[in-house]
């Protein structure tokens, strides 16, 4: 009975690959997303609504579209990809790094949305007070705005992480479905459903996915609570 809890080496390597890609994805987008979020929350400039729409585009497009565009841009024959390949020897298409890029594009808007909401809710009066005490605006950002927006940024991180774990369409289009390279959890589940007798292994991975998603949500809740306490905000 307990055998069902024993995961095979191949299942573990699928899980490890998925986690690796999701982790690199959030590390890649964290700083740019917070920066874009701050610009959208605090600045007004020409072309702001265009930037806003561009950032959100992956949320409303079928994921296969960003995947295909990535292939055109960053594929080994792509507009940018051919130089990456010939000059730096970097190949994104059909590699796990490409999978990181694909899920980063899809997760970016979620991260920006959370961070933007959190930053716009930081009282500007506090930022002005900090400036009147002699703090340079950059210093104000790091000592006041960022810590106060932290709960929302953490939420964004978890959302992006989960989105990356669940990424399917853009990934399979851009980097394919290669075992031990780009075959993440959802791709592996899909693969099993395409072969005879694949239902049981697929189900095992489904359970694994659900456990992972549930843990991410619970960790997010805990972190958010803690972050809220740190900034003196309390709610049950």
């Amino acid at each position: 009975m307990l055998d069902i809890l024993k995961f095979t080496p191949s299942e573990i390597s699928i899980l490890a690959l998925s986690l690796k890609i999701a982790l690199f994805c959030v590390v890649l987008i964290l700083i740019p997303a917070v920066l874009v979020a701050w610009v959208l929350a605090r600045k007004s400039f020409f072309g702001k609504s265009l930037l806003d729409s561009l950032v959100h585009l992956p949320l409303v497009l079928p994921p296969v579209v960003p995947g295909f565009l990535l292939l055109l841009l960053l594929g080994n024959q792509g507009l940018i990809g051919k130089y990456l390949h010939s000059i730096f020897g970097i190949s994104l298409a059909f590699t796990w790094i490409g999978a990181v890029v694909a899920s980063a594009v899809m997760a970016f808007p979620l991260m920006v949305r959370s961070a933007r909401l959190a930053i716009s809710q930081v009282d500007k009066g506090l930022e002005i007070a900090a400036q009147s005490l002699g703090a340079h605006p950059l210093k104000v950002f790091f000592t006041i705005t960022l810590p106060l927006a932290m709960p929302g940024i953490i939420t964004g991180l978890i959302l992006a992480f989960s989105r990356s774990l669940g990424e399917f369409g853009a990934t399979i289009t851009f980097v394919g479905n290669i075992e031990n390279e780009t075959r993440t959890l959802p791709l592996a589940i899909y693969s099993y459903t395409q072969i005879p007798d694949g239902d049981l292994p697929a189900l095992r991975l489904v359970i694994l996915s659900m456990a992972l998603a549930l843990s991410a949500l619970m960790i997010s809740d805990r972190l958010e609570r803690k972050a809220n306490q740190n900034i003196g905000r309390h709610h049950d």
Binding site: L126, I128, A129, A130, Q131, S132, L133, G134, G232
Partner: protein, 214 residues
């Protein structure tokens, strides 16, 4: 010596202020909408006037003709806001010492210890702002502004949001600071009676017009 000549025109509001202040403590009072807060935010550098000049102790903070407009963080104008505006994620102690990070030690006018004793907030140092009463918050806000070594301290309705019991927690300290701390101060209030408890140097502002030497 504070010399202010500023003009600002908005859709439904015009501010024309000409002030020469030689008293160390001055109060500006007038009904709401008279332009008190606008004047304060112009002096602090939060709002930019259309034209004019602001000079404090010989140092020019704003001059529309000479195109001088010092940013807020370089003006050294300490602000005490009506709502305190304490940083909620920092302890009282870190709120107080926030400005000390930006001032070289030899330029620091006051020591943390002195201010803490003067305002009797020693027992609050480890607490967070949300644990404080209204009067305690205002005392911490006052201390925090003083510790930024301001060349001018401006207090925006420091008593307005407090009931009588809480006022008694801050009023004696405002008097103490006015009497003992050698920093020029401008109080802003809608109530003449209230502000007379602190100073007799009063300036009236009405409909955005004020012209006074004191």
């Amino acid at each position: 010596m504070i010399d202010i000549q500023v003009h600002l025109k908005r859709k439904h509001f015009e501010l024309d202020a000409s002030l020469q202040l030689n008293q160390r403590v001055t109060a500006i009072y007038g009904p709401s909408g008279a332009g008190k807060s606008t004047l304060l935010s112009i002096i602090a550098g939060i709002t930019q006037p259309d034209s004019g000049r602001i000079v404090i102790d010989g140092e020019c903070l704003f001059d529309s003709q000479a195109r001088i407009n010092k940013p807020i963080h370089q003006r050294k104008v300490g602000l005490v806001f009506q709502d305190g505006r304490l940083f909620p994620h920092l302890t009282v102690e870190h709120n107080l010492s926030y400005a000390l990070n930006f001032i070289p030690v030899q330029n620091q006018q006051f020591q943390l210890k002195l201010i803490v004793e003067l305002l009797e907030i020693g027992h609050l140092l480890k607490q967070r702002p949300h644990q404080l009463s209204g009067g305690e918050k205002q005392r911490v806000a006052l201390g925090r502004a003083l510790l930024s070594s301001p060349r001018l301290l401006m207090l925006d309705e420091p008593l307005a949001s407090l009931d009588n019991r809480l006022k008694s927690q801050i009023l004696p300290f405002l008097k103490l600071v006015s009497d003992e701390i050698n920093v020029p101060m401008i109080y802003i209030s809608h109530s003449k009676e209230e502000i007379m408890q602190i100073t007799n140097n009063l300036i009236h502002i009405q409909s955005g017009k004020v012209n006074c030497q004191l």
